[in-house]
Amino acid sequence: MDATGLSPTPKINRWLPYLAVFEFDVRYTMRSWVYRVWLLVSFLAAIGYLLYRFGVYHEAGIVQPASLLISDLLRWSVLGSIALIAVLAGSAISSERGTMADSVLSRGISRYQYFFGKLHARLVVVVGTFACMSLITLAGGYFLLHEDLSFGGSAIALLTILSLLAAVAICGVSFSAIFNSNDARGRYSVVRSVRHRRAFVFSPRTVPISWPIIEQSTADSSRLL
């Protein structure tokens, strides 16, 4: 039978494969245990930190400015989240290679659409979730704590932190596309380098002083706020 003589499938929406991967991955990521652990740990850590600070105020009578409190909370949230975000982004493609990826990539989707669908989904989940958590914290701080938080400063601090997290997510998904799923050592080294803040975008030794690095930007956040 000569297959070339038959007509191809009509009416193709070329953006639909990208949207399908994007929507599926957003739902899949939000149902993953890593994401849920990240949310739970962040929430519990925030509550614990605020209780501790409240205890300091209650017992010792030390009053701290809201900018300092929120800055510390954001800094520790970022540092505590990075490893989980690296795992979340690093497992985007490599974990599916040889299994689900085969089922998806054998359909009418290009490698670019698949990669960008995954990348944008993980970015939206990571950045969106952290933005929501931070906005709740900032709004709470603005209304409940002392009034030394500025709107502009808060926005700049938040954008800086979100851009750093976006960089982590982009690096993670890109590494995930490069490394094999069995290359656990490669993935571990990514997580470890991020965890120890030795990845090039975060290291004050390897990047120009003008670049936003995690230690500098989180340390400066109280001034910004």
């Binding site: 499938t9 193709i12 639909l16 949207l19 998806v104 990539l105 359909r107």
Partner: protein, 267 residues
């Protein structure tokens, strides 16, 4: 590699839209139902909703998954997941189907229905099956390609493949007096062309030497049977023909490979 006359590259989505593929062990996302999975597959092919939904509904009915169409795939049996994989491979109405081990892990009933489906689809589409189960190939294919250690060692019609088989094992159903049959068999045992001769009631099994010409050896045997007034009811070549032909091919290729390796080492 070219498909439909065009090079197949990792980004050749247009070409893959014309192909329906089933991997060996199809994986399904957790928590999905047949409806959501097929809808997802349809979207991956870029099919808009007005095309996707009716196709999805008719495929679910065609593969007999309608009663479980809203249930999670995680609880499906091998036969049900195989049928779902078939539906997913047909959602884009492909011109070419590539199915890897479609009967792998299926019970006899599911395997039978899969083979019938392959036969009916082959009336209108080109199917490429990869299988280690040669009886399936024998039943549904008309062309075969044999790979051994990554090398293509045969490509042609199934008849050609069977034609390459060494025909050296025959069964003859005989009719006549038992004493005459025994006497004839004794005489046939004297022919050196036969490696093994066995008589079970009135069925004579003859296994020829590899070097023997089967026509002359059988002619001698027929002469002896005729001399002893034994009639021949039927004669047939024994064994699973495609399987024998496949094993013959691989065996020859391996012996050639060994000979080449031996020669290169000796040189």
């Amino acid at each position: 590699m070219k498909v439909f006359g065009k090079p197949m590259t990792p980004n050749a989505a247009d070409l893959r839209r014309r192909i329906g593929y089933i991997p060996t062990n199809p994986q399904f996302p957790r928590g999905m139902t047949p409806i959501t999975y097929l809808d997802y597959m349809g979207r991956l092919f870029g099919l808009p909703a007005d095309v996707r939904k009716p196709r999805l509904a008719s495929l679910i009915r065609a593969v007999d998954l309608l009663p479980v169409s809203g249930e999670p795939i995680a609880g499906f049996s091998n036969g049900m997941t195989a049928r779902l994989a078939v539906a997913a491979s047909l959602i884009n109405e492909p011109e070419l189907l590539i199915w890897d081990e479609p009967t792998h892990g299926l019970d006899p009933e599911a395997r039978r229905s899969m083979l019938e489906l392959i036969k009916s689809l082959s009336q209108e589409k080109t199917l490429i099956l990869s299988s280690h189960n040669l009886s399936d190939i024998d039943e549904v294919c008309n062309h075969a390609a044999v790979l051994s250690r990554g090398q293509l060692i045969f490509c042609g019609s199934l008849q050609d493949l069977k034609g390459r088989m060494r025909r050296n094992h025959f069964e003859l159903d005989l009719e006549g007096d038992q004493k005459s049959i025994t006497k004839a068999v004794q005489a046939i045992r004297g022919i050196s062309d036969f490696r093994h001769i066995e008589i079970r009631q009135r069925r004579l099994e003859l296994l020829l030497q590899d070097s023997a010409a089967n026509t002359s050896a059988l002619a001698n045997a027929f002469m002896i049977l005729a001399d002893n007034k034994v009639n021949l009811v039927s004669i047939r070549s024994v064994g699973q023909q495609t399987e024998h032909a496949f094993l013959d091919l691989v065996e020859k290729e391996e012996s050639r490979g060994f000979a080449r390796a031996y020669q290169s080492e000796a040189a």
